[in-house]
Symmetry: C2
Subunit: 478 residues, 2 copies
């Protein structure tokens, strides 16, 4: 058994060192490998397959709302980046610059896109002329690059994968509607598919996107009580349109600037899946996002008839689930460990005694519950188990989050909570950036969002005592 | 009618100026828009949707052969690129170099990937240790960048989209098998889905990939008689493995170098679709790759009941085909033109008289044939039309290619053909690079491939008269 346990033993316990646990899981589940370029990571097959499933599901949801996909160049001329002043100020320090092409120095240096607002604006300025050309609801799946100082797998890479939607509308109302619509697409996707409950709200001015009028966010709570910003949706008003000259002739024959939005979700969300659902044995993937939902593992496979029966079971499940069979020469215990580390939601154990009784054992990855089922209705039972698991994982995550969401009406309560009870803190805030910055400096807690569901916890700001304007979720964040 | 014809009239006739016809189609079908960076193009929704369909279909075929997808960094350190000498010599002149990150100059400059052999090799050197770790059959979908002097939509961009497969194997035989297997995947895909017949063969040493032992290619003939290399598959032997240190302990306990392959198909293939199937009215998309297969166009839609019936028809087709309805206020003639320019394979015309007779008219994009069908079995009829069209487009392309494939056994025949009858020329060749270069210098025709199906046309080289070693397809190429 010693050998069988090696995989699991190589993972640091969560409670001992959460950061090391995270790194171990990423490595042992073979999700990420480090590359030769600092901060650039390799998405290995197990990691990339999760992203492919995220793409498939999100892309379908996007297209149902009328989104069209495009692909824009990865290089942005410096002069184009500079047209919107807040935007360039926010991103220029993070740019990687191309200065030589072929063997020649370039007249103007080119930035590898840190985000593509400027390119979409430039395109819209060329192809939008009349209200009939609106709305434009474009999206692209691509990688972007930001010159980060410190990086961590999934959570912060120099180069990461994402989608970025960019839209243009004839009215301010329509832009706001689209901004909220896409935030809801993200939140619903995370709850229904990733089993991660989200707090929806608006970012403070300090935390909003460079160049945006309003940034909306979905925020999740990780197992260690830290917050993770999981997706954002920005309303630009007509600020970018003015900077980039996106004008159209409206129905009333007046020349107007378009109203714009942008919204993105990245491979960072895979970090959330790991840190919300994982345990000391490794990754735990919700069935609806798992590249492999069930691993068939024959027991005593050298005995007559076992492999044949296991293959029969595997074949019978293939059309309905994403299923694999591990008929390698490794011991069953080793196979269990591998399936567990990789977070495959269920395994089906099938040995000579099971076959005798016309049964199999379904083992849930999250609870380790063993469910003995008849082979006659294995597929239906499996579907039931996967659905139950999906629902219970969401419930468990919600319960954990709610149990780690605190309220503070005094500064003493606030500091005591942040030090001793990691989680979200709901508290009242005066609305001033200076006060927000002081809270962060003193406690390390930032404003996560001003939630759509406001409560009045008190009349005064938890920090400065001035009249309160908003209830805010605070937290230490990744 | 003048206005209705505007779209079509804006397209130069093929026979008048093929290059201009091509550019016009790309522009009028809204496939590509030029960006602010020279040679970097924007894939607009109509263009990108074709690529999405190509990806979906190719990716499915890849996975059926055991391919796993990954994602590698876009930046390659200069020192890593330099490890394989042929490879760096081939690609260094085309590299874009990042020299500044954030605001700091870099110690070592980084190249934006022109291709990713070096990164895959580096990964394999870390994760391949034993024969049990082999084979590795990885692929990535990404963009690559090559600093080209002249560019044309789809055919040659600085940045283009592609997939690049990279594999490692325990034996030379297995690597060769995989190389040919992937070439066949490409050829089958092109014939079955894109309706483009391919010549399969091997590249000469002069034309092979930088660092490869053997490069295999599929070559297509465009409408103007020029050749287009449409996909390549390379056998690297153990050359890269030696340069990058990819070693494994084999079953016999000996340390050996792995054998490798790589293979790619790019957005260039969209250029082939345009130039093989297009006509003077614009794009013609084969039904199996068309993002929209049928456009429902109501005639006299202001009349009572027309829009209702058209909507009913549209709804009835939706699950089975990719269908759109054009119920805008434009005239039917204008709608026809738009559907034709965009290459949508069929339209369904439905007017008051049709409704009276319980019928609709299916119009084929390629032949313009009008097929009157009963509304009672519209879907079956449409499927039949689409299948017939797909098959006939392939046949037409094959007939065109065969009619423009010539043989030359004397140099006079060769030069006469190349000047007066654009197409493929089959001819015998001595196998010497110097002679090959002379042929190219004198005629502009390059060796496209040494086809798998060899014929003996004569005993001597068509150019130098030395003993012939191979029959070669020659042609002027894009």
């Amino acid at each position: 058994m010693a050998k069988d346990k090696k995989l699991v033993e190589a993972i640091t316990a969560m409670d001992e060192d959460f950061a090391q646990w995270y790194t171990d899981v990423v490595k042992k589940a073979e999700l990420i490998e480090y590359s030769n370029v600092r901060g650039c990571m390799i998405f290995r097959p197990n990691g990339y397959a999760i992203w492919e499933n995220i793409q498939k599901e999100l892309d379908r949801r996007f297209k149902e709302t009328g989104v069209e996909n495009v692909y824009m160049p990865m290089l942005i001329p410096e002069s184009l980046l500079q047209k919107e002043s807040d935007h360039v100020e926010g991103f220029a320090p993070e740019c990687a610059w191309v200065t030589t092409g072929g063997n020649e120095p370039l007249e103007e240096r080119l930035c590898i896109r840190p985000t593509s607002e400027t390119l979409f604006c430039d395109l819209y300025s060329k192809i939008v002329h009349s209200y009939r050309d609106l709305p434009k609801v474009y999206n692209q799946w691509c990688s972007v690059l930001r010159w980060e100082k410190t990086t961590r797998p999934f959570l912060r890479h120099m180069e990461f994968l994402w989608q970025e939607g960019h839209t243009a509308h004839a009215t301010s109302e329509e832009a706001e509607e689209r901004t909220i619509q896409m935030l809801n697409v993200y939140a619903d996707f995370c709850e229904e598919v990733l089993a991660i409950p989200m707090i929806k709200g608006r970012k403070t001015d300090k935390e909003k996107f460079a160049g945006a009028e309003a940034t909306y966010t979905i925020e999740a709570l990780m197992h260690d009580g830290k917050a993770l910003q999981s997706g954002t949706s920005h309303n630009f008003g007509d600020g970018f349109a003015k900077a980039y000259g996106i004008q159209f002739t409206d129905k009333d024959n007046q020349l107007k600037h378009a109203f714009q939005t942008s919204w993105g979700m990245s491979t960072r969300i895979i970090g959330a899946i790991i840190m919300v659902h994982g345990d000391d044995s490794g990754l735990v993937l919700p069935p609806r996002i798992a590249p492999t939902q069930v691993m068939v593992i024959p027991i005593a496979q050298q005995k007559e008839g076992v492999l044949e029966k296991a293959t029969e079971v595997y074949e019978s499940l293939k059309g309905r689930f994403s299923v694999k069979m591990d008929d390698s020469n490794k011991s069953p215990g080793w196979k269990f460990s591998e399936q567990e580390v990789r977070g495959i939601p269920t395994r089906i154990e099938l040995g000579p005694k099971d076959i005798e009784k016309n049964q199999a054992v379904i083992v849930r990855r999250d609870t380790r519950e063993k469910i003995v089922v008849s082979l006659d209705n294995l597929a239906d039972e499996l579907e039931h188990v996967l659905n139950t698991m999906q629902a219970e994982m969401l419930e468990r995550a919600r319960t954990h989050r709610d149990a780690h969401t605190y309220t503070a009406t005094t500064w003493e309560e606030f500091t005591d909570t942040i030090e001793n009870r990691p989680g979200f803190i709901k508290a009242m805030w005066c609305g001033e950036t200076e006060c927000e910055q002081e809270i962060k400096d003193e406690t390390g807690a930032s404003t996560r969002c001003m939630p759509f569901e406001q409560e009045c916890l008190s009349d005064v700001c938890v920090h400065c005592g001035k009249p309160a304007k908003k209830m805010v979720y605070f937290g230490r964040a990744y």
